[in-house]
């Protein structure tokens, strides 16, 4: 999911230039979204009907079509919960909790989102820092470019998520626990897009611009701060969005082996142990919302920064 080619896919949606495009496409987009909801409700009927018939047979009643539909949309442990059930569960564990003044109790999704969010952000910051440092090294040192860059790319063909359990257990054994192990997995996932994007960005000034700086007698430091770094900004923000999405995935998977204590990943695992499908879906929707919000915030910062720099 973290290949340079992925830029195109994610960037499209969050790109500033596409905002107008999105507005124009509001009709088609809404149609597609509505279509997804219709499919979802129909799927709920199809998947949950078996259990509904089972229940009816044991109770010795026959179900009319409308009764069947009503039952499939309101089961306690459905195979596929209907959207309104998921919505109700999310409200019960977020809005209703806030109303009761217990917005950070262990049953609140805000609490779990917060846990996931904090390790996502920590991992994201670490990954961004590492990524930028590596990129600067690669751009300024030819040896590093030739020896490190191939490994940076190869490192991402390894399914790092697969060794998440080991990282957690090993770091726990060394005495590092809590936020940091999860953040390290996030870091590993998020540094790659930053390296690739920043290397591209730092190399983006043209020969003409570099020559111009030289005629102004600019030193290496000035060349970096005044030309290379500013011109890498658009590339940086693009990679930051991908890094953020990747970082969230890392945090969620990192929570799985900790024994389902806290976090959205733990909610997923707990839900799958006890067959609480509604809980799984609500955690999933919450994760999606979190991803969309975080990436959206970066998009906002990007727009403001680039505007102030006169680049958009």
């Amino acid at each position: 999911m973290l290949h340079p080619e992925y830029n195109a896919a994610i960037e499209y949606f969050w790109n500033i230039e596409n905002r107008g495009h999105l507005m124009r496409n509001a009709g088609p987009i809404l149609t597609v979204v509505a279509g997804i909801f219709v499919l979802w409700y129909l799927g709920a009927i199809a998947l949950n009907a078996g259990w509904a018939w089972d229940k009816a047979e044991r109770a010795g009643v026959t179900l009319s079509a409308s009764e069947l539909v009503a039952d499939t949309w309101s089961q306690k442990k459905p195979k596929l919960p209907a959207p309104h059930q998921v919505g109700a569960e999310i409200w019960k564990t977020t809005g209703a909790m806030v109303a009761k003044g217990r917005s950070f109790s262990k049953r609140s999704l805000f609490y779990h989102s917060w846990v996931t969010f904090s390790s996502t952000i920590l991992g994201f910051l670490l990954g961004t820092g590492l990524g930028i440092a590596l990129a600067v090294g690669i751009v300024y040192n030819r040896t590093m470019d030739m020896s490190v860059m191939p490994w940076v790319i190869a490192s991402q063909t390894i399914p790092i998520l697969a060794i998440a359990p080991m990282i957690i257990v090993v770091l726990n054994a060394v005495g590092i626990s809590g936020l940091l192990p999860k953040a390290i997995i996030s870091m590993y996932l998020s540094f790659f897009p930053v390296v690739v994007g920043m290397v591209k960005g730092l190399r983006s000034p043209s020969q003409m611009q570099l020559d111009q700086m030289r005629t102004w007698n600019a030193g290496p430091a000035q060349l970096f701060w005044r030309l290379r770094l500013p011109s890498s900004m658009p590339y940086l923000f693009t990679s930051l969005k991908i890094a953020m999405a990747a970082s969230l995935v890392g945090a969620i998977v990192g929570e799985l082996p900790t024994g389902a204590v806290a976090g959205l990943g733990a909610r997923l695992l707990g839900g799958s142990y006890y067959g609480q499908t509604i809980q799984i879906w609500s955690a999933l929707i919450m994760a999606a919302t979190l991803a969309a919000t975080l990436v959206g915030i970066i998009g906002l910062i990007q727009r403001m920064t680039l505007k102030r720099m006169g680049m958009s």
Partner: protein, 281 residues
């Protein structure tokens, strides 16, 4: 102390060789040699540091131990490979990419649907889809079918988005030319638009390779029969048999790199005519 100084010496020698090599004009040989030397240096340092600091093999086994375990347990590794990669990842990859491709061609005929689906598909591609794993394991049972289903869901959207975008990659002039040749929809699709979409399609396929492996392995954390790479990793971690875990990681790394490499090679042979491939050696 001896091991640590050996580690330092290895690092120094490796670095010096690489600095020397990178000063020379770049050829294919140096382009290949430098990263290999860098990798070997890292492994040597790892080995030395593990011995030098006397790190418990529960925490970080030495590369030599991992290699020994790898050689000793090839039958387990092979069994897990068949279960996870061949049955889970590969079948899911083929089904997912194939259905996304067909769907893209179907969607392409209706501009209204395409305009709506592209942004939604992009949005979904950015979401943590791996979270669907527990649900799909519930629906399709513990065996490889559920892993294949996770892989299908994960590769579907990147593939769909890329193919739809690729099918747009012809300009009016080219399509008009096809019309003057009296080519119908299918002829145009086959002779012009699909070839033009190839680089995009291969992008989707390449992104899918890593996603497929990740999906198949992580899905096994949510329940699996008593074989499979994800299962082996999570249980071996529980038994603190880190050498076996690392052996599985080596398998995963080899599989991941060669899967990606195979698709990249296929791309190179099939789209050698495209500007993005020209001039590459």
């Amino acid at each position: 102390m001896f091991w640590l100084s050996l580690a330092l010496a290895t690092w120094a020698i490796g670095w010096i060789i690489n600095v020397r090599l990178s000063r020379r004009p770049k050829t294919r040989l140096t382009g290949l040699l430098i990263p290999v030397i860098f990798g070997l240096t890292l492994i040597a340092i790892w080995e030395c540091v593990v011995h030098g600091l006397d790190i418990s093999k529960v925490l970080l086994p030495a590369p030599s131990l991992i290699a020994a375990t790898f050689a000793k347990s090839t039958h387990i590794l092979w069994q897990d490979f068949v279960q996870t990669v061949l049955k889970g990842a590969l079948s899911g990859y083929i089904i997912g990419c194939g259905s996304a491709f067909l769907m893209a061609i179907a969607v392409d005929r209706f501009p209204f649907l395409r305009q709506g689906l592209l942004p939604v598909g992009n949005f979904v591609a950015a979401l943590p889809i791996i979270g669907m794993a527990p649900i799909l394991v519930m629906w399709f049972g513990f065996d490889w079918q559920s892993k294949a289903a996770v892989v299908v869901v994960m590769v579907f959207f990147p593939m769909l988005v890329n193919t739809v975008q690729g099918l747009q990659d012809t300009d009016t002039m080219q399509r008009d030319l096809m019309r003057t040749y009296a080519a119908g929809y299918w002829k145009t699709l086959l002779k012009l638009r699909l070839p033009a979409a190839m680089p995009f399609i291969f992008n989707g396929l390449k992104i899918g390779t890593t996603l497929a492996l990740i999906g198949a392995i992580v899905a096994e954390f949510f329940g699996s029969p008593i074989k499979g790479m994800g299962f082996r990793i999570s249980t071996s971690v529980g038994q603190l048999a880190m050498d076996l875990v690392w052996a599985e990681i080596v398998v995963a790394a080899i599989v991941g790199s060669s899967f990606y490499g195979a698709v990249a090679l296929l791309e190179k042979t099939m789209t050698f005519w495209h500007p993005s491939q020209r001039g590459r050696t």
